[in-house]
Symmetry: C2
Subunit: 424 residues, 2 copies
């Protein structure tokens, strides 16, 4: 199916400068690919022409770290100390999940992504092939990684999942990873490093999320989580860390040397009181940035607009500098940065030949007016309410508040309520 977007403003990405420009015109999607940007030839045939009425077509947001299926624990146990929350509330319920639950809980999360203009996720959770299947069935693009740790999984299963998910669909892929240093034995970490090298894959883990995590790692190994995992050979083909809040000078050097990604999760770091990531320093040192929502149990929402505001806002507070971490860098991290972090370089911007993972932003809303600066408006005053349409792989999955993913929303809500209801 081909689609033309006419009367659009189109957001173009300047990768060198991490900046953007806006052109007015039309855009054509052929199958799952952006075919023409700016002008569409008169003989281009499309089943559907969408009149954007001056609204903005831009790349979809990439959610570069999440645990999507944790939707069942959203608002289940909040405003409590981290350890109590994790050990007494989260883990006992996660232990009751069966594989089929994951499928429905994942779809609930995907629906929320679509409302926020998110077109792909980098997901770590139980049963990656089941997660991938949920995404593929909805038409949503997903990158899975393993959450391997001492309490579940094995190197063999990670390798099996790597192959299953990578071969499942063009919409699904798998990057090597594991949960975190503080939950995982050295033997397993060595196995993960071996897989990353065997498959020439980047490698990801939760890294330096809390001060305690780093302190205990240094006590155990005499090294930070970044130092330890780099020495184990995990980053021969790049990769990165989720959270990356408490980083040493040497950690920054390693991230730079290995061309790694710091995936920031400001909503989760805020709600769990983990701290504020050193975003200004990442930018100053030219380290790659991407943004993730983290899971809905810790955030509690899956909203890239909130994350974008927090990424720059928290940095401004931390540095006591209202000028640091400009909106353009934030929007770059939320789109191109995330795509490249997730191995989706063909989804990183609006350009001929790129995948049609794009969204329409309604500029005719009061929070987008006047149009002094559309980039700043998106980052500082944008909201889910502005997402008029979300297209993944050339297919419109969300438009004017309605989903086209093959499931009735009320059925999905009922499933999610039944799953957590079973555990109460």
């Amino acid at each position: 199916m081909n689609t033309i977007f006419k009367n659009a403003k189109i957001l173009k990405t300047d990768h060198a400068k991490h900046n953007f420009s806006i052109v007015e015109g039309s855009l054509a999607v052929e199958g799952n690919t952006i075919k023409h940007v700016g002008e569409v030839p008169a003989d281009f045939k499309a089943e559907r022409t969408i009149d954007c009425e001056g609204n903005l077509i831009m790349p979809g947001f990439k959610n570069a770290h999440t645990h999507t299926a944790m939707t069942f624990l959203r608002s289940f146990a909040d405003d409590m100390p981290l350890q109590d929350w994790l050990f007494n509330q989260v883990f006992p319920r996660e232990g009751q999940l069966v594989e089929d639950d994951i499928y429905w809980l994942d779809i609930l999360g995907i629906m929320e992504y679509l409302t926020s203009g998110i077109t792909s996720n980098f997901d770590m959770y139980f049963f990656p092939p089941k997660n991938a299947k949920a995404s593929v069935d909805c038409g949503f693009r997903t990158v899975q990684t393993s959450g391997l740790n001492n309490f579940g999984g094995s190197i063999e299963v990670v390798e099996e999942n790597y192959n299953i998910v990578n071969e499942m669909s063009d919409l699904s892929s798998f990057i090597i990873g594991f949960h975190a240093e503080y939950t995982t034995s050295k033997e397993l970490m060595e196995g993960i490093a071996g897989l990353a090298q065997k498959y020439k894959s980047p490698c990801f883990m939760h890294n330096s999320e809390t001060e305690l995590e780093v302190k205990e790692c240094i006590e155990r190994w005499g090294k930070t989580p970044t130092e330890l995992t780099e020495e184990l050979g995990m980053y021969e083909y790049g990769g990165g860390g989720y959270h990356c809040v408490w980083m040493s000078d040497h950690d920054f050097e390693i991230f730079k040397k290995r061309d790694m990604y710091a995936v920031t999760n400001p909503g989760s770091n805020t709600k769990l009181a983990s701290g504020i990531a050193p975003i200004k320093r990442y930018l100053d040192e030219g380290i790659n940035l991407a943004i993730g929502t983290d899971g809905p149990a810790s955030n509690n929402c899956l909203d890239m607009f909130r994350e974008m505001f927090l990424m720059t806002g928290l940095a401004k507070i931390k540095e006591r500098d209202a000028a640091c971490v400009p909106a353009e860098e934030v929007l770059y991290a939320a789109t191109a940065g995330g795509a490249r972090c997730m191995g989706l370089a063909d989804c990183d911007c609006i350009e001929e030949g790129k995948k049609a993972d794009l969204i329409m932003i309604d500029l005719m809303q009061p929070n987008m007016q006047p149009e002094n600066n559309t980039i700043k408006n998106i980052v500082y005053s944008g909201s889910k309410q502005n997402v008029a349409l979300t297209m993944v792989d050339g297919k419109v999955l969300y438009e004017a508040g309605k989903f086209d993913i093959g499931f009735d929303p009320r059925e999905i809500y009922a499933k999610a309520n039944a799953i957590i209801g079973r555990m109460k």
Copy 2:
């Protein structure tokens, strides 16, 4: 006009505990007043019955500090140092505003309030009667205060505006106030204190927003802004401060003794790098809290959902305690706290006899599912996208994305673009 809301969940407020409960049933509005809650007598006559389909009716949010008409400077100059922003960007353009501009810029802000479920604002800006007129013409409830300082206004004009706005409409009122200690002479502050006493009015100002402001005040007077203004006799009838970030022990005592309100503005404090307000301590000491968005030049959006998440999230970061400032306290501050701060005790909750300033929250959205805890969902994952309807004074002003305020949105956007366009 009378309205019945049927098949609703209704949020009821427990003022003693700062908590909420939800009852299922119907609600009737007679004219501008809530007439029945829970059950509506069969003989109640209504021109319209709205089927809520299980969605939530709750009190509208109260925006307890803003400069609404600054919409023209939204995204005009961001990511720059505070002084440069204020003196080189904001002040020179504000100097070019004429009274008629305020009217249109205010309506743009009111539209945004309605999309976020905000039913009244506590506004400080030039030409309060013009601001009040814009609100009244839209059917929106407003409380105006004066922004008097050394660069504009006089005690006589403040008094005149006090009477004009209080007498204009049931939708408009005026509370005595002025800009801030750092912009205002002692003579003017004494005049303001005199007015507060003459009219038995609470008194408000920007208070302890930045560390520098407090330091310089102490250098000038040997006192904090709170101490100075209290000694001048401003708080004989209560009042409070906007921002209240950098407070001394004695300041807390004064706020407590005078039953004052700390109006927190976390979005603005974040974006302008002003700091994090001591919300946990306000709660621990039983000091009244309300929430404001501040103006759209500094925030840049007028969204109570963002403010609510930030109020608790930033406190959690500051205290390094994920358990502090629970969602219930945040929602109380955003509704009843704001109403009482603004002298709108008859708009503070859903109860028979209260004004019908209420909103409908769409729970059938993925970010509100599963329904583990609707209060936590509103505060932690709620979004403008969930605002299905906003009613002020018994009249629906916003519903399903459409405004009913007597103005065409495109006309308002054009006016706002023309006003800032004139100054570029």
